[in-house]
């Protein structure tokens, strides 16, 4: 009887010790991660004062895939300019964003058309990206409050799931959920939500590569969750960071044949 009672006490003590050690370990691991610092590190890696991107947009609308080659020049948060090189029908189409206004130029109409307000949230050239998605380069750590929601396995990597809440009510995606690999400080997946909490976009980042000391994905896959069976892959063929861009790229006079 005495032996049985002693075993019970030992089991109880072991269980308590295991519980305490597990709790302390989790707490220590969680304390290692400061979600805001992690998000800032992600921003620092992805964000630069200028970017020049040569890429391709492959739009799969569920029936056929259409690929457009596009060069983009981005300066800070405010300015960006895109020039579509192919296919023939889209060749010469240009988009210029200055602050919150975006102009679209098509050679067929030979006109600058202003895209503003809610139109910025419309699908850009039939893709899963909106005009806003394509030309906006927002620093998430500045625009959102962040908390560490949980840890989760994603694509074989243990990732921190950060939950972001917009500081400004004007921001289209009021909340975001970002899967970050903490060692490399890279984003693996992102979900963008409307104010109502409805999932609008899902973005996955694939095949990170070193571009002059920065890790940048080779492609991003956008899915408009309001559509069915569609996806748009943005392939980054060439990317340059912090390279000076002439001012003419961000003037309306560039929009011509």
């Amino acid at each position: 009887m005495k032996m049985k009672g002693r075993h019970k006490v030992i089991d109880f003590v072991v269980a308590i010790l295991l519980g305490i050690s597990f709790f302390s370990f989790s707490k220590a691991y969680a304390q290692e991660i400061d979600p805001w610092k992690l998000l800032k590190a992600v921003d620092d890696n992805l964000w630069s004062s200028t970017k020049i991107i040569s890429g391709r947009l492959s739009v799969d609308n569920g029936r056929r895939v259409r690929t457009m080659a596009v060069d983009t020049w981005m300066e800070g948060l405010e300015n960006s300019y895109s020039f579509y090189k192919s296919p023939a029908r889209e060749k010469g189409t240009q988009m210029l964003k200055i602050q919150k206004k975006l102009w679209l130029y098509t050679p067929r109409t030979d006109r600058k058309i202003l895209i503003a307000g809610h139109l910025l949230r419309q699908s850009m050239m039939g893709s899963d990206l909106s005009y806003e998605d394509m030309l906006e380069d927002r620093k998430m750590s500045r625009s959102y409050d962040v908390i560490l929601e949980k840890w989760e396995e994603f694509d074989g990597a243990r990732s921190a799931v950060l939950f972001l809440t917009a500081k400004d009510k004007e921001i289209t995606y009021q909340t975001r959920r970002v899967w970050v690999e903490p060692k490399e400080k890279i984003v693996l997946k992102e979900e963008r939500y409307a104010k109502s909490g409805k999932l609008l976009k899902r973005v996955t980042f694939e095949e990170y590569q070193d571009y002059s000391g920065r890790l940048f994905p080779k492609r991003m896959i956008f899915r408009d969750m309001l559509k069915t069976d569609t996806q748009t892959i943005y392939h980054f063929d060439e990317i340059q960071f912090d390279k000076p861009i002439p001012k003419k790229y961000f003037r309306q006079s560039i929009l011509k044949r």
Partner: protein, 431 residues
């Protein structure tokens, strides 16, 4: 016997004139009322069909599911082959026409070519330029264009007058349409505004634009593709037949193999106009009102004719008494009276048909101009309300007309059975 009764009816006008007039007026009025209601209903059906759905619509299933978004990527390819199949597999009386429903942002430039105003518009592209096309007449374009003219070139556009007012458009001004092409790409093209239209339906006048189908096919890259095939039936074909025409076409569809150019998930479906825009509810309501009208007329005519029968009985009191006294049975006497009533009903109905039919034809051809009153209801209704001459109106009027006279006489004739021969002899002696 019938000839004898007929002679009596025609020679003794006091027997037949009043009931005949009542039947004639009742039948005539019923014909006009039913024909007019039927005409207004058919007008609504036709207007919805002409502007929007056709009487029979042949459309890609996926397009129909999301038609509020005008998904051009769900258009039906192989325009020529599809038309050929439709013509070979549907009744000859159906005229099939291609249409393209599109949605785009209409952008109006200022003098420097920069955006001055813009607004989302929805539009229909239809064959406005072919000599063989009836679309200009079908839409009544000459009447609905309140300023400017109909398109004469593919890149000319008509705009709803309320939309034009909002965008401060002027005739001959150039606007840019910005939308999506068939394959989801960017579609942007310039159009010249040649006229403003007023359909009298607020939603259309505020957001609608019309263009030729070849212009839309070029702008939205819809080569050999359309979003809809609309089938139009002659006005004489009642909406009650649309369902069977649809069923026949659906049976033919079962044997159809996908046409060249169709994608794997392209499959057309058939819809009647009644299955769209909530028309079936409106039609059911109209039919109920029609049934009430017929019932009320039957009851009213029955009461009047019963009264006429009673008066007739009093007027022919002596004659009926004499016939009973001479040995004619009560039943035979009533049978003769009912045959008389039937003949009066038939004669009255013939005159009623001529009278009502004449008015109905007039209202069908010339109509009644209701001005803005109907347009303000928000329903797709023409300003001029027209009646419709149909066999149904005559049948629904004549049967109650004849029945009411016979029933009225039957009720009035009950009195005959209450009179005994002994009483009759006493009356005769006193008389």
């Amino acid at each position: 016997m019938i000839r004898w009764i007929l002679k009596g009816v025609l020679r003794d006008k006091s027997r037949s004139l009043f009931p005949g007039i009542v039947v004639c007026l009742g039948v005539g009025l019923t014909i006009v009322m039913l024909g007019f209601m039927d005409g207004v209903l058919m007008d609504m059906v036709d207007m919805t069909a002409n502007l929007d759905t056709g009487h029979i619509r042949f459309v890609n299933k996926d397009f129909y599911k999301e038609e509020h978004m005008n998904p051009l990527d769900r258009s039906l390819p192989s325009q020529k082959e599809t038309l050929k199949w439709l013509q070979e597999n549907s009744p000859e009386q159906i005229e099939w026409v291609p249409r393209v429903r599109w949605g785009a942002v209409m952008d109006v430039p200022d003098e420097n070519g920069e955006t001055r105003a813009q607004k989302p518009v929805i539009g229909t592209a239809l064959d406005l330029l072919s000599d063989s096309s009836n679309e200009v007449e079908r839409l009544g374009l000459k009447k609905v264009i309140i300023e400017g003219r109909a398109p004469q070139k593919p890149k000319e556009i008509l705009v709803g007058y309320l939309a034009a007012r909002e965008l401060e458009l002027k005739i001959d001004e150039t606007v840019t349409l910005l939308g999506q092409s068939y394959d989801g790409g960017l579609a942007a093209d310039n159009y010249s505004v040649v006229g403003f239209v007023r359909f009298g339906v607020n939603a259309m006048d505020k957001r609608m634009a019309l263009m030729d189908i070849t212009g839309a096919q070029d702008s939205f890259y819809l080569e050999d593709m359309v979003t809809d095939w609309l089938g139009f039936l002659p006005r004489g074909v009642s909406y009650k037949n649309y369902g069977s025409i649809k069923s026949d076409l659906e049976k033919q569809l079962e044997t159809l193999k996908p046409l060249p150019g169709w994608a794997e998930d392209d499959w057309p479906i058939v819809k009647t106009v009644l299955e769209q825009r909530n028309l079936d509810t409106i039609v059911t309501t109209f039919e109920s009102v029609n049934a009430y009208v017929v019932t009320i007329f039957l009851i009213l005519m029955g009461i009047v004719l019963w009264n006429a029968g009673l008066l007739n009985g009093i007027y022919r009191y002596g004659e009926l008494g004499m016939r009973l006294a001479m040995g004619e049975s009560h039943g035979l006497l009533l049978k003769h009276l009912m045959m008389e009533a039937f003949l009066v009903g038939v004669i009255g109905s013939i005159f009623g048909c001529l009278l009502g039919g004449g008015f109905l034809y007039y209202f069908q051809e010339y109509g009644i101009d209701m001005g803005d009153k109907l347009a303000q209801t928000g329903l797709m209704l023409s300003d001029v309300s027209r009646a419709r001459v149909s066999v149904e109106a005559f049948v629904y009027a004549v049967i109650p007309g004849v029945l009411a006279n016979v029933l009225g006489t039957l009720v009035a004739g009950i009195g005959i059975f209450k009179r005994s021969e002994a009483e009759l002899f006493r009356e005769l002696e006193h008389g």
